[in-house]
């Protein structure tokens, strides 16, 4: 396969993934401390390690969660 094409595809993919995860990390900080409570009242009295457990998922699925939060408004 053409090396230049593979390099371009790889770098585009990894750059997009990187940006997505960076934004996700920023969102996840808001989400685990505040957003989750609004989305699901069951989170309110949950222990701190529960927030730790949902943290990686909120980094990966931040678009879905943000959409759900906006709809809730």
């Amino acid at each position: 396969m053409d090396r230049a094409l593979v390099v371009w595809l790889t770098d585009s993919f990894l750059l997009s993934l990187g940006i997505y995860l960076l934004l996700g990390t920023a969102f996840s900080i808001y989400f685990v401390f505040a957003g989750a409570n609004r989305l699901d009242p069951g989170v309110k009295d949950a222990p701190w390690h529960f927030r730790l457990i949902i943290w990686p998922g909120s980094v990966l699925l931040w678009v879905t969660l943000l959409t759900k939060l906006l709809k809730k408004k």
Binding site: T10, L14, V43, I53, T64
Partner: protein
């Protein structure tokens, strides 16, 4: 569920299960390291770690994929299904160790970023024999990671059952990628045909198990295909006390439960993870899902407070000693007078 979340709801049985899992991993790793240190002492420790954790996660993935169909064939295996998520998360962690070590070992300390190197070292993407198999492992790990981080009930509720289930059905894509990763990687590396035969047998074993269950379930669904207003269930004697019979009603499965001389019909799909309610049992007056123990009142399809799950209910009638179910469901949680049989 609408009570407060806990990180993990431990109980004695669950702890016993997890102890078994830890024991499994320990036995496997000790055996692998022991055998290699004695019989393959020339191999470097990094290679042993990479191979041990790679094989361990491969084995665990096969164990996990066996559980689902096994419980449908014999409900006695349901106890293995419960807590399967701990197996899944553990399997991902083992695969992550394998992936991280491989990346550090093969791609680290080089002239380009190790993650880029996974994609850009071997460029024979058009070849079967020389294909860069590590890329397949990378994507498999990504999928397994996505599943592992969303395995808590919080995600099930907040993503919605359908999205969650779709996400977790991706395990089959991951499995395909893993098989290709293994076949094009280590199996191609070793000259023996034996490994290839073993992995092929395992793959067909998993495929056959799933196929067998699929065929059985299609047969159940074909039992009553009629699109009529009322669908025949059968004689009430066919149903055991506190148990149900499942019939297909215009594309949906309905579970008809018998309890204290009464019959009630609810949708067969549990709102938690889609477990088959009709394979469950009535305990303390509630239909109890065999998968994770979610409960519904047979009379109205509602979970007892403080829980909020609801399933559809159906009308029943008795004619000439035969039970019939109405094809039109009531909305979720609608109370329906149970059918009394003398």
């Amino acid at each position: 569920m609408s009570v407060s979340y806990r990180s993990i709801l431990w109980n004695k049985q669950k702890i016993r299960y997890d102890k078994g899992l830890v024991l499994f991993i320990l036995i496997f790793l000790v055996a692998f390291f022991g055998i290699h240190l004695v019989f393959h002492s020339n191999v470097t420790i990094e290679t042993i770690i990479i191979r041990a954790f790679g094989l361990l996660s491969l084995v665990l993935l096969h164990v996990i994929l066996t559980i689902g169909p096994l419980t449908r064939i014999n409900p006695r295996f349901l106890i293995v299904l419960y807590n399967r998520r701990h197996l899944g998360v553990t399997m991902f962690l083992m695969a992550l160790i394998h992936g991280a070590f491989s990346m550090m070992n093969f791609h680290g300390l080089g002239d380009i970023n190790p993650i880029r190197s996974i994609f850009l070292s071997n460029l024979q993407y058009q070849s079967v024999a020389h294909f860069p198999f590590q890329v397949l492992g990378f994507f498999a790990l990504l999928i397994l990671g996505l599943m592992a981080v969303t395995s808590h009930d919080f995600w099930l509720k907040n993503l919605g059952y359908k999205t969650w289930k779709a996400l977790h059905m991706m395990v089959y894509i991951a499995y395909g990628l893993v098989i290709l990763h293994v076949v094009m990687g280590v199996i191609q590396n070793e000259t023996s045909i034996v490994l290839f035969a073993v992995i092929l047998t395992a793959f067909f074993g998993i495929a056959m198990l799933h196929l067998l269950v699929a065929v059985r379930e299609t047969t159940t669904d074909q039992q009553s295909k009629l699109n009529a207003e009322w669908v025949l269930v059968g004689a009430p004697e066919e149903i055991k006390e506190s148990r149900a019979k499942i019939v297909a009603v215009s594309g949906e499965r309905v579970a008809i439960f018998l309890y204290q001389g009464m019959l009630s019909a609810v949708n067969n799909v549990c709102r938690h993870q889609g477990g088959p309610l009709g394979e469950g049992k009535i305990i303390d007056g509630c239909i109890t899902c065999p998968w994770h123990g979610y409960q519904y009142l047979p009379g109205n399809g509602q979970s007892p407070p403080p829980f909020t799950e609801k399933v559809e209910t159906y009308d029943l009638k008795l004619e000439n000693g035969q039970v019939w179910v109405n094809a039109q469901p009531h909305p979720e949680g609608t109370a329906v007078e149970p059918l009394k049989i003398s």
